[in-house]
Amino acid sequence: MEIIWDGIRQAFQLIFGVDADVWEITLLSLQVSGLATGISLFIGLPLGTWLALGRFRGRGLSLSIVNTGMALPPVVVGLTVSILLWRSGPLGDLRLIYTPAAIIIAQTIIAAPVVTGLTAAALQQLDPRLRLQLLGLGASRWQMVLALWQEARLPLLAALMAGFGSVISEVGASMMVGGNIRHQTRVLTTAIVLETGKGEFARAIALSLILLILAFLVNLVLTWIQQRRAQN
């Protein structure tokens, strides 16, 4: 019990005592996971829309693959990206292994199927006749898609939150492709694993609290936007 109280006390000291290391780790976590979520949205929104609205052979199989991707184990992603980016690997010349860019790549691979799958599900929940009605009112294909995104804005924001949640909390891939190098690739989750391994439970609890608060704040903002629009 003492360990937990120590951890909470130390967390407040770390947060309010302006611990440079903690702030650096927190900021890097936000940057890496924020960018990975942004790229996932960039990929997932159009891809999910195409899968939801398109009529082509293999659509069902593609949706199944994306839905399977939503449960992709981060360690498997970490292993695959490590092999690809390893010095002797096919993309070794890019020299990305153990860099923040490698973590962003791995986290994008984790978040993109989540955003894609939930985007497709959000659009498929809309009345299919709505597309006909919009086109019948003179919408171009692009205007129709924008109107459908507007209609599905609440579940689409939920997709964004789920995408961010899946990467801010993952540790396996970040550890494997980032290497948890101090001042370079150490993020909150990898730091927690390290501190726990060293027996520094108080510091690990402190970092966990920061991670939870961070996830809560980001989702608070997104939920506020979502619910404000729901009330409007």
Binding site: Q133, L135, L137, G138
Partner: protein, 361 residues
């Protein structure tokens, strides 16, 4: 001069099966074509094809004599207004809902606002403009949907059973308002319905679609009085339809003049209104003309005519009597035999005032 809208040799397949075949269908400018048929007849498929939202397997659609080409679909769609069975309002205010088609066309804000206000007030929903579209009742939502289409000032209005999901009083009010709007705007309209009253009320022309095939096109009188075949006759049910004008109306009793005769009916239509008198063949009783005419009967309408045609239909005989207009009666074979009914024979036909169904035109 070519009709405003023309369909030629249109064939639509779905899941490998042919669901629609229309060899020719035309709508003149300013006219309303009511397309009637039972559920699953292909009415909505026809409407979607006319709206450019469904690729036909064969055939073409012409607007003012010009074939609509696949590359011109967007430009074509921006010439039409589409109202579907459900209002399908967007999750935003009524104002934004009515404005959405205008915004797709990038109309200036001032003009958008002016058109939305105009059509909202014409449809009686001006007080609802700031309300969320999803909070409207069924009737209000369908008014917003109509406003959304009318605000586009389309050249062609396509309506797919817009009132079928509404309760009877709401439907009746909306139908009446739509009739007024169509008469005022003279908008070329295709109106899909399975309701014969709606077709009679709105249609200048009526097209009957059965099992994916266009079976008959003509004026309401032609289609209802002279169905092209027994299936059309079975569908339209009412076979005698007479255009007339209300001369007097008092305490629910209406006197209508048609073909220089006076008919009695039951209804609440004011004097001066143009109406259709609709009569089902089973409501007409035939009498062999006795000297001095039929005596002692509660039927208020008596006509004399000659039998024009006798059509055997199983245990029944369909008798078409020429009374200056074709009046159809349905009698059993036994009655026909005992009365000795024959073509050219003079008979008296009677029907009750309550059997006459009046529809405004």
């Amino acid at each position: 001069m070519s009709p405003f809208l023309e369909v030629r040799d249109l064939v639509v397949h779905r899941s490998g099966q042919q669901v629609l075949e229309v060899s020719r269908l035309a709508v003149e400018a300013g006219q309303t074509l009511a397309v009637i048929g039972p559920n699953g007849a292909g009415k909505s498929t026809l409407l979607l094809a006319l709206a450019g939202l469904l690729n036909p397997s064969a055939g073409e659609i012409l607007i003012q004599g010009q074939v609509v080409r696949p590359k011109e679909q967007l430009a074509y769609r921006r010439r039409i207004g589409l109202v579907l069975q459900d209002a399908l309002l967007l999750d935003t205010s009524v104002f934004n809902n009515i404005a959405c088609g205008l915004r797709f066309r990038r109309l200036p804000k001032a003009e958008t606002k002016q058109r939305v206000s105009l059509w909202a007030s014409r449809l009686g929903i001006a007080h609802l403009l700031s309300r969320p579209g999803r909070q409207l009742s069924g009737g209000e939502a369908q008014r917003a949907s109509l406003g959304r289409a009318f605000a586009l000032q389309p050249e062609l209005l396509l309506l797919d059973e817009p009132f079928s999901a509404l309760d009877a009083p709401t439907r009746s009010r909306l139908l009446s308002d739509l009739q007024t709007l169509l008469q005022e705007t003279r908008l070329t309209t295709v109106f899909i319905t399975h309701d014969l009253d709606e077709a009679l009320m709105l249609g200048d022309q009526v097209a009957v679609l059965l099992e994916g095939r266009l079976r008959q096109v003509g004026t309401p009188e032609q289609v209802f009085a002279a169905p092209s075949d027994s299936e059309v006759a079975a569908f339209v049910g009412v076979e005698t339809i007479i255009p007339g004008q209300v001369l007097a109306s008092q305490e629910g009793q209406v006197i209508v003049e048609a073909y220089s005769r006076r008919f009695e009916a039951v209804g609440e239509i004011a004097a001066g209104h143009l109406v259709y008198l609709c009569l089902r063949p089973e409501d007409v009783t035939l009498w062999l003309s006795p000297p001095g005419g039929v005596k002692a009967s509660s039927a208020r309408n008596h006509l004399t005519g000659r039998i024009n045609r006798l059509v055997q239909q199983g245990p029944l005989v369909r008798v078409v009597v020429d009374c200056g207009f074709p009046l159809t009666a349905l009698v059993t074979r036994t009655s026909g035999r005992e009365m000795g009914l024959a073509e050219g024979q003079e008979v008296e036909a009677t029907f009750k005032a309550s059997a006459v169904h009046l529809i405004g035109r």
